[in-house]
Structures are given as C-alpha cells and as structure tokens.
C-alpha cells in the first residue's frame, strides 16, 4: 500500500495522540474518568490489597470450593491452578457486549483452569484440561499494556476467580507503567462474596454469569457445585454494592457497573424465570442484563439428554417475555435484536 510522506507523518501523529489521549477520550468534556485501581493506589492502599490477596494463597479459600491447599507451596486444589497464572490467549474480542467492544474491541485475557467446570463448557480444553502457558505476574502486566496499546477499551479477565491475587499484582505493576483501562471481571459467578469484597476499588466493571437458580441443576452440571445459586447471588449483590449500575462514556463504551449474564438453557434448566424475578426483587430494575440465546451442545453435554439440544425459539422468547414482565428495562441490545428477529421469523 502506497503511503505518501505527509500521510505517514499524519498517521503516526494520529496514532501517537490516540495512545496518549485515548483513556481521556472516554469522557471528554466531563469530569475526567479514572480507573478505580488508580484511585486506590493514590490513597496508598492498592499495595496492601495485593499483599492481602496473596496471603489467601496460603490456605486457599478464594472460591466456594474452599480447598484450603497451600498454593504458595505449589499445592493444587479443585481448580488445579499453580501459583503463577496460566493463560491461553490475550487478544481484542469483538463478540462481547457492545459497550465492551466499542471500536477497538474488548481486551480479553483467557485464564486456564476453572473452579466451576460445567460439562457444557465451550472452552473445555482451557477450563477443564488447563491448556495454556504459565507466565509470571509481570508478563500478565505486559499483556494488559499490549491490549491497551492496540486500542482495546477494557481489560476483560476471563475466568479470573482462581487467579485473583495474580491479577491484582499484575494490575498494580501495569498501572505503574501506564495502564488506564477499566478492569472487567468476567466470572462464572461461583465466588465468595467475602473475597469479592477485596476487589472493591479495583474492579470497575463486573461481568458475572448467573447460570442456575436451582442448586440441584448446578450440582448436576457443574461438578457438584450445588451451592452455586446461593453464593452467586450474594457475590452479585456485593458486586452491585461496589460499582452500581452500568454506565458508559461519551463514546458508548462501558466505564463502570454491573453487567449480568444469563444463558438460557434447554428445558428451563437455568431457571430463567426465577432469575429475572430475583433480579427485579434484589437489584434495580435498570440493572444491565444480557439474556443469551447462544447455548450450544458442547463437550459432555451430548451425554445429558435434558441439555443435548439447542434451545427453541419459544424458550428464548419466553425468557425475554419474563424479563419484560418483571419490569427489567436495560436488556442487552443484541438480545433485543435477536428477540425481534425470532418474533419476525416465527410469523413467517
């Protein structure tokens, strides 16, 4: 491709200025936005928080499995995670929610291993088999900075629960080297609310799943996690307490707040009706909720007849109807487009 000299200089300046000014682009003309972790660092508290988090590794109860192993000594628990983070990939993702994707994509970092391990997991080589590369916290910081450099709007930590202390450490290292993007805590929801509390003032955007409302289903499909509904609800309420409702900057990308995900499953296994009722009762009705239609039969789900099929059009439409009936007002825009499309296809 031919580029004239003038053009080249213009482009380099444009790119340079994008790098320098991009975080502030988020709220130009208004009160400048600052990532939460930077505020905490300025208060002198981030370093302490990192130490507190790391101390949890000694008798690991980071998540509801509460294995109690000493991860500092390399002992492994249910999640099988070593002390160092194991990652599969880091790249801009364009399939996440629109307010996370924006123009430049959501900076996803996929962590290997998982404390939940659902049998229908689409990423099973990563979550169940722990495929990935072991790196140090410093390398994780490098990845965050790389994602920022290439124009991502946030750092989207996928399956972060068991590597939370590593994430905090990496965030602090990256902050000192210029990280300014909001952290997105993209979790299965299988969290302890006491541990989520440690993220107060660090995470700006929470993106938890609420997968099941019925402990029996959770136990059956997620490796015995029958306490999932109770612990996830508590964790989500704590997340909301910290960051409140979803809000975006001037360019439409998310800055802060809770974004709830719920995957509709065949035969009402996920308990969608109970889910929307709970949201309407326990949280503001304008909480951002993404009711997702993309359930695929994956991994071991073929072996469970109840979930060995895709959802029907009716199952998704009833889910969206229940959400509306409960008065939820901020449903994900793509889910609304799919709902409208399903409705139009039904009448054809």
């Amino acid at each position: 491709m031919e580029i004239g000299r003038r053009d080249f200089i213009k482009r380099t300046l444009l790119m340079g200025s994008f790098l320098v000014f991009s975080p502030l682009k988020l709220v130009s003309g208004k009160e400048p936005w600052n990532p939460a972790y930077d505020d905490l660092e300025k208060e002198g508290k981030l370093g302490t928080r990192v130490k507190e988090a790391y101390a949890l590794f000694e008798d690991c109860r980071l998540c509801p499995r509460e294995c109690g192993v000493n991860r500092l000594k390399g002992e492994t628990g249910f999640c099988r995670a070593p002390l160092n983070p194991l990652i599969y990939s880091a790249h801009p993702h364009f399939g996440e929610e629109i307010s996370l994707v924006g123009e430049g994509g959501s900076g996803t970092i996929f962590f290997s291993n998982c404390n939940l391990r659902c049998i229908f997991c689409q990423n099973w080589p990563i979550s169940h088999e722990g495929k990935g590369k072991e790196i140090r916290d410093e390398d994780l910081a490098d990845l965050m900075l790389y994602l920022q450099k290439i124009g991502c709007h946030n750092i989207n930590l996928v399956t972060p629960t068991h590597v939370m202390p590593n994430i905090l450490n990496a965030t602090r290292i990256a902050l000192k080297r210029g990280l300014r993007l909001p952290l997105v805590y993209n979790t299965s929801g299988y969290e302890r609310h006491e541990i989520v509390r440690l993220l107060d003032g660090i995470v700006d955007i929470y993106l938890p799943d609420m997968k099941y409302m019925d402990g029996k289903q959770a136990g059956k499909y997620s490796a015995g996690a029958s306490d999932y509904p109770e612990v996830a609800k508590k964790a989500i309420l704590e997340m909301h307490r910290q960051v409140g409702e979803h809000r975006v900057g001037e360019n439409g990308t998310a800055l802060r707040g809770l974004m709830l995900r719920h995957l509709v499953m065949p035969n009402r296994v996920a308990g969608t009706r109970e889910f929307v009722q709970w949201v309407a009762a326990a949280l503001p009705k304008s909480t951002y909720v993404n009711i997702m239609p993309q359930y695929h039969v994956e991994y071991k789900a073929y072996d469970y007849p109840e979930i060995a099929r895709g959802i029907t059009v009716e199952e998704f439409l009833e889910a969206m109807d229940w959400a509306e009936q409960c008065g939820l007002t901020k449903l994900d825009p793509r889910s609304l487009a799919v709902r409208d499309f399903y409705k139009s296809s039904r009448s054809n």
Binding site: F94, W124, N251
Partner: protein, 389 residues
C-alpha cells in the same frame, strides 16, 4: 500458539521473547509495524450499530426487461424486479442495477483457531480472523448460525470495517489467515474478494467455509486469492439438498471440481444427521465420488449433529454412526477422515496415511503436538497433504 511439539508438563515455565510475542499473536511486532499497515484506519471504525447497510455495485447480474435483473452470482439465478431483493436478502435491485448491501458491514468478527474452520491440514495452531455478514443462499433446517444467516442486515448489529481495516485488524491480532464463514460467504462476495486481494499484500492466507453453491465464474475469479476451502457436502442426494437446505447438490459438486482444478487446498465437512443423511450406502457413494474426483488425500470431517432450530425432534448423532461413517470412508480409500464433537476421540488427531502414527495431536481446537517436518511424517518421511508454512 506454537505449532511445534509442546511439552505436556509445565516445565517450560518462563518463555522466550519470541514465545511471548507469539502468544499475543505477534501483537507487539504488529504494533510497531502498524503505521505502515494503516493502523489509524482501523481506529476510525465505529462501534457496532443495528441495521448498518453498506452498498457496492455487484458485477454479477444481467439486465432484463422492465428494469428487472437476473443475478449471476449463485445457481439460484434470482430474477429480481426493481426495488426488490434476491433470495439471500442482501442484494437489491436499485434502478435496474444490482447492489450488494453487505460491503463493509460484518455482523460477526471473531478470532478463531484455524482448526475450528475446520481445517486440519493448514497452519496448525494459528488463528484466523473470521468474518461474516447477514444473509445466505440456503435455508438449512439445521443451521447453527441462523440468527445471522437467515436475517437481513436491518436485523443485526454490524461493525463498519473497510476491507483494508479487516486486514489491519487481522495483523494486529496476530492472525495468519482470514476466514469467510459462519453464513454462506458467496453472498458477500465483493467484500470477501476485496479483503482477499488486500490480504495478499499483508502476507495472510484466505480461507473460505462455504456450501459450494456459487457459479463457476465467480469461484474461478476468487480462486487465485483463495488458499484453502472447507466445503460442506451436506448430503449426497438432490432430495436431501432440496428438503433440508432448499438447495441443490449438483452445483456444489461442480464447485468442488473447480476448486480442485484451481489447486485450492480442500477439506470437506459432512454433518451426519440421524435419519436424514446417515444411510451408509449413500455415504459410501459420497466417499467414492470424493476419492474419484478430488483425490484420496482430501480430508473429510464427519461432524456430530445435535437437535436445534428446525430439527429439534431428531436425536444427536450417536458416536457409532460417526465411527461407521469413518470406517466407510477409509474403506473407500480416503486417507484422512475425522470425527468431530466427541471430546477425546482418537479420530480428532491426524495420522500418517503410510505408517499410521499420530502426526498432529489435538485437544479440542488446541494443538498438543505436531510430528511433521516440512509437511512430512517425522517417523516415516511420507508427505502429508496440506499447507504447513
């Protein structure tokens, strides 16, 4: 992802700079090279918006009486009056000229492992920036992507990305190839073609996953820029294609022959649907045809069905049916036959057709090990067909 032997233990703890860059997909390198590739251009992209339409005059139509046109892109040959659209919903007759409505407005953009295309004999362990717009020229009752394939551009959220921006993104993300997929890429032909041309200057490969339902001229024009294709051979009877896809088999077979003649690397996918196309005698005919017309070295993927969309009453494909299909394919002389969606199944690996040893081992879409040296089996030296570098 490395495409070399990866040790199973985690004794490869810290990594070299090269490995780090590989993990980012060469991101940092790409960053510094970015101005030369027009990096700022991709910054001008918009956030996804609903109903985005981007038009381009199509070269594939003939004028007819009364301002109508006949499309010449795919065998449907839609005759379209002024103001109306073709079957695919993304081409429109405006003032007696036919326009694509999907030039630069993809609704799906995703970095996938190349194995997912599925391509098992092309650059293992690399990623492919995969792209699709709304629309399709089939209506398969078992479509996994029907939310976009059966939609019109008005109904989906799309990004705005010029062909050059797509190429730039692919480089930024460290992809080694671009894949035109998810729906039938024929329907966004002009966009695909321009991306493919631009990608060649950037050293990327082009991959298509298609139903093969395209006319000979357009596929011949695309072939010089196409490195690899996975073509669905959904069934092997006209009645299957008609009833389950609203399509036809014969043009698909023609496309396969053209791709073979044009030396595009070919792999074939057959979704085995219980009671619809699982008759082993028909599968046998299909395998014999593949062997005769395309060659015994053509990789064939048997894929596992689960009930969805308009086929919710059928059962998932039993494993033994997939195994039987694979046996049948081997007995017809095909040498590389895979079974999908049965995690841990040995038929997910690639075996040397001469000595039988596993030359590529996979866990899901991840590569565990590659035992090939410049495309030859590490154990016995025989060539394994594919694009390995």
């Amino acid at each position: 992802m490395k495409s070399r032997n990866v040790s199973k233990g985690s004794d490869e703890n810290l990594w070299t700079k090269r490995e780090f860059l590989k993990l980012c997909g060469g991101g940092l390198c790409a960053f510094f090279a970015a101005p030369l590739l027009g990096f700022p251009q991709s910054l001008k992209a918009e956030a996804p918006t609903k109903g985005l339409i981007k038009t381009k005059l199509s070269p594939f139509f003939k004028s007819m009486k009364g301002g109508a046109i006949q499309c010449t892109l795919c065998p449907r040959g839609c005759k379209v009056p002024e103001g109306k659209r073709g079957y695919c919903r993304v081409r429109e007759n405006r003032g007696g000229k036919y326009y694509s409505l999907v030039y630069g407005n993809p609704c799906a953009l995703h970095l996938d492992p190349i194995e997912k295309k599925p391509l098992f004999h092309v650059l293992p362990g690399t990623t492919s920036l995969s792209i699709a717009t709304a629309g399709c020229n089939f209506q398969c009752k078992f479509c996994q992507n029907w939310e976009i394939s059966q939609a019109s551009p008005e109904q989906v959220y799309s990004y705005e990305l010029s062909p050059q921006s797509v190429v730039t993104r692919a480089k930024e993300m460290g992809a080694r190839s671009l894949a035109y997929t998810y729906v039938e890429p024929t329907i966004f032909y002009e966009y695909m073609m321009d991306i493919a041309v631009a990608s060649k200057k950037a050293g990327l490969l082009n991959i298509v996953h298609s139903n093969g339902f395209i006319n000979p001229d357009p596929i011949r024009s695309l072939s010089p820029f196409l490195d690899a294709a996975n073509i669905d051979l959904k069934g092997f009877t006209e009645s299957f294609y008609k009833e389950l896809c609203s399509g036809e088999l014969a043009p698909v077979l023609d496309t396969l022959k053209i791709l073979k003649e044009q030396e595009v690397h070919l792999e074939i996918t057959n979704l085995v649907i219980p009671t619809c196309n699982d008759d082993m005698s028909v599968i046998r005919e299909m395998c014999l045809w593949i062997r005769g017309e395309l060659g015994a070295d053509t990789p064939l993927h048997f894929s596992r069905f689960y009930p969805l969309y308009k086929l919710t009453k059928l059962p998932p494909t039993p494993i033994y049916a997939l195994e039987k299909a694979r046996e049948t394919a081997f007995s017809c002389g095909l040498r590389f036959v895979y079974i999908g969606n049965v995690p841990g199944h040995a038929a997910w690996n690639t075996y040397c057709a001469e000595c039988g040893k596993a030359v590529i081992e996979r866990t899901g879409y991840m590569i565990r090990a590659v035992h090939l040296i410049r495309g030859k089996c590490e154990y016995c030296g025989s060539a394994v067909p594919g694009i390995w570098a």
